[in-house]
Symmetry: C2
DNA sequence: CTGTATCCGACGTGATACTG
DNA sequence: CAGTATCACGTCGGATACAG
């Protein structure tokens, strides 16, 4: 029973930002449920998002323009940068400021909310960095005894 | 039949745990790259994973058996629980203990590494919980001014 | 420069059936 | 009970072309 969303419309796959970004099914059991858990999950999914954290980290220092970020990241496509920024904007984590000049200029900047999120995310990132050897070692060990046991 | 997909190639889609769980492309630019960034990203992707965090949180209190967890989560399929647990095991975050009884019994338990990860994850979760209203408000506001101006 | 629209392959996820 | 195998299907994400 995959939740019936509002309406499964014609697969608007373009640059719109409609999905909740994670489809949390029906967690009905005992303790790990409720709307709270669902809301938390949707935030966590943003953290796990391929680009969002990277974008947030880049914006900590100072606001940036679209192509500045695109260049800094390097591997990202225009489409995904747009989608990522729209998602962050929708969640109130970044602001989008358009300067009606020619050529157009758009600045993206972290909100206070976004800066707040950056803190626990950085803590997590630091943990990941510090324990990187253990995790990679565990992976190799697992793959070895499991791949050619 | 709008999109006949005859190209359905036989992927190894079963319960193997091969991918690095995130496919970080070629980040070659200036500062947000290198193997470090890649490793951190793979950990973050696990946090963003649909079920991993939920499983970790459940295991904090005490070890659990396969079907105990399945029942507690409720919405998860057997396959995804298996895949999630295998991924966590591969990363050295949980241990898998088989008791060769009949019927078989398998306990899953957090490692020290897993318990360590739980801390920053909980901090992040708490942030998400506390700021849930702001995020949801921002989403509604965004959708309103963007969906029906 | 800053996007938006579209095509298409790859991957994630659930449902189901089967095994030890 | 604890998985594994297979299939179906939706979504993600890159490449490309086009627009303001």
């Amino acid at each position: 029973m995959t939740k019936p969303r509002k309406n499964a419309q014609i697969l608007d796959q373009s640059t719109s930002v409609k999905s909740e970004h994670i489809r949390v099914p029906a967690l009905q059991p005992n303790e790990h449920q409720g709307p709270d858990c669902r809301a938390v999950a949707s935030v966590l999914s943003r953290v796990g998002d391929k680009w969002s954290v990277l974008v947030i980290m880049m914006l900590i220092d100072k606001p940036l323009r679209f192509n500045e970020m695109k260049r800094m990241i390097g591997g990202i496509s225009q489409r995904m940068l747009t989608l990522t920024l729209r998602g962050l904007e929708r969640d109130g984590l970044v602001t989008r400021t358009v300067f009606p000049t020619i050529p157009p200029r758009v600045d993206y900047e972290l909100t206070d909310l976004g800066r707040g999120l950056a803190l626990p995310v950085k803590a997590l990132g630091q943990w990941a960095f510090e324990h990187r050897p253990e995790i990679e070692g565990a992976r190799e060990a697992f793959d070895t005894r499991n791949g050619k046991g």
